[in-house]
């Protein structure tokens, strides 16, 4: 018994000695085939991927709006309102799984989803490929990059590659992590310390500050009972695995660029960061955070806004 305690103490000491920050910066560059990225962008912005040629990926993932649509629930074809909030496509390549409930393993796999979703693009592959094949420019571009030409797999790969190119390095906080201590103010540093002390860091960690584990929404206090009106989308991973254990379980979202991706949560219920922090503190940590500390955490979260192609996101 004593021996075990000792080991624990020694280990926790060791942890302090070689203390590493639980958050790591985003790499400044990535090696991606620029031609495929360019083709992926064309597809991402192409409305022909939807049944009635009205909606492109970019309609719901507008880079000018932080890679989201800034709506609580997305609006798909025929002005249909979706069931869930659209997460940002920025840095989605760093997530261990895609979608709130992680039902797609990779970005490639994910592409299938919105194209077929009746409330999003309402189309299917045969339709999409037929439309694309009528376009000489696409025929040429695909032929140049993929020997087999226009195929499902190749469309998926090009789009996924484009999405991987949507990474946002050099946030002020990343600069701080890289050793520039002046990159963030002392209040922002305090905010970071509180973020760690309160235990947000237990879930929001790693390079993407989230995006690498699942967690029940409402660990210590049931969120959905309080909110009421539970929908299919609220079941989270339960809809994927069918296991009671996974009810209300979601992929912990990345907090990168969180300043510009409001509204928050899968239901888009939190309109401001302060609200989101409040909800997190109560439901995930079982605590209440004093007003001024909340403020500090919020200003810390705002240091996570990165740059895309060298320009700070807005």
């Amino acid at each position: 018994m004593l021996f075990r305690v000792l080991i624990c103490i020694i280990l926790s000491l060791m942890q302090n000695v070689c203390a590493k920050e639980p958050i790591t910066p985003i790499p400044l560059t990535m090696d991606l085939n620029p031609d495929k990225v360019a083709l992926g962008q064309l597809l991402f912005e192409d409305k022909r991927l939807s049944h009635d040629n009205t909606i492109a990926c970019v309609s719901c993932h507008d880079l000018a709006k932080g890679g989201t649509d800034q709506l609580s629930h997305s609006i798909g074809i025929n002005d249909t309102e979706g069931d869930i909030n659209a997460p940002t496509v920025f840095n989605s390549g760093f997530n261990f799984r895609q979608f709130w409930n992680g039902r797609a393993a990779t970005l490639e796999e994910q592409v299938h989803g919105p194209i077929h979703h009746p409330k999003e693009m309402g189309s299917h592959w045969i339709e999409v490929i037929n439309k694309l094949k009528k376009d000489q420019a696409y025929l040429k571009k695909f032929k140049a990059l993929y020997p087999q030409g226009i195929q499902i797999q190749n469309i998926k790969e090009a789009i996924a590659l484009y999405e991987r190119s949507l990474f946002t390095p050099n946030a002020r906080f990343d600069q701080y992590l890289r050793g520039n201590h002046k990159a963030i103010s002392s209040d922002e540093k305090k905010g970071y310390t509180l973020f760690k002390q309160y235990g947000c860091i237990a879930c929001h960690q790693g390079m993407n500050i989230g995006g690498n584990l699942y967690q029940v929404f409402g660990v210590l206090n049931n969120y959905f009972e309080q909110r009421g009106n539970i929908t299919q989308a609220d079941l989270g991973r339960f809809t994927v695995t069918g296991k009671e254990y996974d009810r209300y379980r979601f992929k912990v979202p990345s907090l990168r660029n969180v300043e510009i991706t409001a509204p928050y949560f899968h239901d888009g219920s939190a309109k401001t960061l302060k609200e989101a922090v409040d909800i997190m503190a109560f439901h995930q940590l079982g605590r209440t955070i004093p007003e001024h500390e909340k403020q500090l955490i919020v200003i810390f979260l705002k240091t996570l806004t990165g740059t895309y192609q060298g320009v700070l996101l807005k």
């Binding site: 235990g199 860091i201 967690q215």
Partner: protein, 576 residues
């Protein structure tokens, strides 16, 4: 018939070879090795993965990125495994291996689910354990909580102990209920803080044993054994395949051995015919070579003959030239000789007459003294004799003039004799010749070239007469002298030396002219080689000279120093 048979045999053996080869190719060792190494990678990755789980449990890992990355690597490795064409590598008998593979994938998927659970639970548990003491001190900081101190502390130490060693759960449950009961009557803020503490304590109670259970499950679900089994299965399949292909291997060996023998035999046959061919070729080549040799030989002889022809033509021209020159000179000599003869005898006659006249006049003078002036014409006579005396005063002059004339004539005679000598040579054949004579006559002919600028230095030695054609030898001397004169630009001298050396007579003609450049030296004996202006030289002089000496069994040599001068040495055999 024979040919058809050969063709059939060839086709059949190729087909057999391909068949045997394919049968032996059944065993793809490289692919098999890759499959085995993929399994090895999987095992290793899983070990890493579990290590990362334990690190997270002990809070040595402070984020889950590494774990997530390992899973992605595992998935891509699974994909690689999936991509192997196992049926091609191991044949149709892979049902069992496939079953084992499915079992493995199911297990690792399950393991992964537990690991995901671990990540969730670990985060929550560590948060609550870390927060719990803070939560308690936050409660104690509130007013009117003194009554609760004992219960709170009991709960705190029980929970912390529990977090290390999950035992006595019910006791802690009681402590929680106790605290909540006691606080029920307190102020709102105390109550809610107690609730927070309670909920965290319950979270710890719930998740602390849970995480142990998860870790145990993760441990149980280790796939290492399954991977080992799979490895064995694949290795067995591979062995079976190897066994299956062994007879084919042997057959292939035997067959290729036979083929090798056949090829050796063919090679031997080829070699034999090649040797024969080679020999024939060799013969042909020899014949060719001989032919070529003969042709060159012929060409050489022909060109030699041509050269000889050219030479004799040149000689012919030369002797023709000399012959006509000789005839002309002979005619000229004859024409000059006749008048010259009587001019000479006349002048000699005049000389005699003149001296007789002198005597007569002296007699007269003696007589005239005695003659008186009044005698008729006496006076006239006297004056005439005196006049003559006046003339007498110059009588030496008169005699001198005649002497001079005679000398001149003698010189003309000499020239004519020399000309005669020179031309006679053409007519004459070989005779004993005094070379000095030849040199002198050549000098005389060349005299007009010397003008004032050249002095001749004769150093004649004691040499015997030489058997030769004097006209030709003289021509040699004349050529050499002409060249020497032409080589001297301003003033200079020519030294002519004669001497005996062994059984040869040497004639050296040495000038101190401009000399001959080294580059030019080997060419000077070539016909038509000249460095002189058109009209001045034909380039034939030395070549003819050379020719002449060759014919006499003699030689002509040259030494020269540019800027200093040239020496030509003519040597002629004395002849006995």
């Amino acid at each position: 018939m024979n040919k058809i048979f050969t063709n059939i045999v060839t086709v059949l053996s190729v087909i057999l070879l391909i068949f045997l080869y394919q049968k032996t190719q059944l065993v793809d060792t490289e692919q098999h090795n890759q499959v085995i190494s993929t399994l090895g990678t999987l095992k290793q990755l899983e070990a890493v993965w579990i290590n990362q789980v334990l690190h997270s449990r002990l809070a040595l890992n402070n984020n889950y990125d590494a774990m997530a990355d390992t899973w992605i690597t595992l998935e891509t490795t699974h994909q690689r495994w999936q991509d192997f064409q196992l049926k091609r590598i191991y044949g149709e008998n892979i049902a069992h291996a496939e079953y084992q593979k499915t079992a493995y994938l199911a297990q690792i998927t399950k393991r992964r689910e537990y690991i995901e659970q671990f990540k969730s639970v670990n985060a929550i548990l560590s948060n609550s354990v870390r927060y719990f003491p803070t939560a308690v001190s936050e409660l104690m900081r509130l007013e009117d909580t003194k009554l609760l101190v004992g219960d709170v502390n009991a709960l705190l130490s029980a929970v912390l102990r529990y977090s290390l060693l999950p035992e006595k759960e019910t006791q802690i449950q009681k402590l929680i209920d106790n605290l909540q009961e006691k606080g029920a009557l307190s102020e709102q803020d105390i109550r809610s803080q107690i609730n927070i503490i309670a909920s965290h304590a319950r979270t710890i109670l719930k998740y602390r044993p849970y995480i142990d259970a998860i870790l145990e499950q993760i441990n149980i679900l280790s796939t290492a054994q399954k991977i080992d089994l799979l490895t064995t299965t694949y290795v067995n399949l591979q062995d079976a395949r190897l066994n299956e292909s062994t007879p084919y291997h042997q057959m292939l060996m035997v067959f290729s051995g036979l083929l090798l023998l056949l090829i050796l035999f063919i090679a031997y046959r080829l070699r034999v015919s090649y040797t024969a061919l080679n020999r024939a070729n060799q013969q042909l080549k020899t014949a060719n070579d001989t032919l070529e040799q003969r042709v060159t030989e012929r060409t050489r002889i022909l060109s030699h003959t041509l050269e000889q022809l050219k030479d004799s033509q040149m000689q012919l021209v030369q002797s023709e030239k000399m012959a006509s020159l000789g005839q002309m000179v002979a005619g000229l000599v004859h024409e000059i000789n006749t008048p010259l003869g009587y001019v000479k005898s006349n002048i000699q006659l005049i000389q005699t007459i003149f001296s007789n006249l002198k005597h007569v006049l002296q007699e007269y003078r003696a007589l005239i003294v005695n003659i008186p002036d009044h005698i008729s014409n006496g006076k006239k006579l006297k004056t005439q004799i005196e006049e003559f005396d006046e003339l007498k005063e110059d009588d030496s002059t008169g005699e001198e003039l005649l002497k001079d004339a005679l000398y001149g004539l003698k010189q003309i005679f000499e020239l004519v004799i020399n000309l005669k000598n020179f031309s006679r040579l053409d007519l004459s054949n070989i005779s004993k010749v005094d070379l000095h004579e030849g040199l002198n006559s050549s000098l005389l002919i060349a005299k007009h070239l010397f003008k004032n600028k050249i002095t001749i230095n004769k150093q004649y030695g004691d040499i015997p007469k030489v058997k030769c054609a004097p006209s030709q030898i003289n021509q040699v001397f004349l050529n050499l002298l002409t060249n020497a004169v032409q080589a001297i630009e301003n003033k200079g001298s020519i030294i002519i030396t004669t001497r005996v050396k062994n059984d040869h007579v040497l004639v050296l003609i040495q000038d101190n002219g401009k000399g001959i450049p080294k580059k030019v030296l080997p060419k000077i004996f070539d016909p038509f080689f000249t460095t002189k202006d058109i009209g001045e030289g034909t380039g034939m002089g030395l070549s003819i000279s050379y020719k002449i000496l060759q014919e006499h069994g003699g030689n002509i040599e040259v030494t020269s120093q540019e800027g200093k001068g040239t020496t030509f040495t003519v040597s002629l055999p004395t002849g006995i």
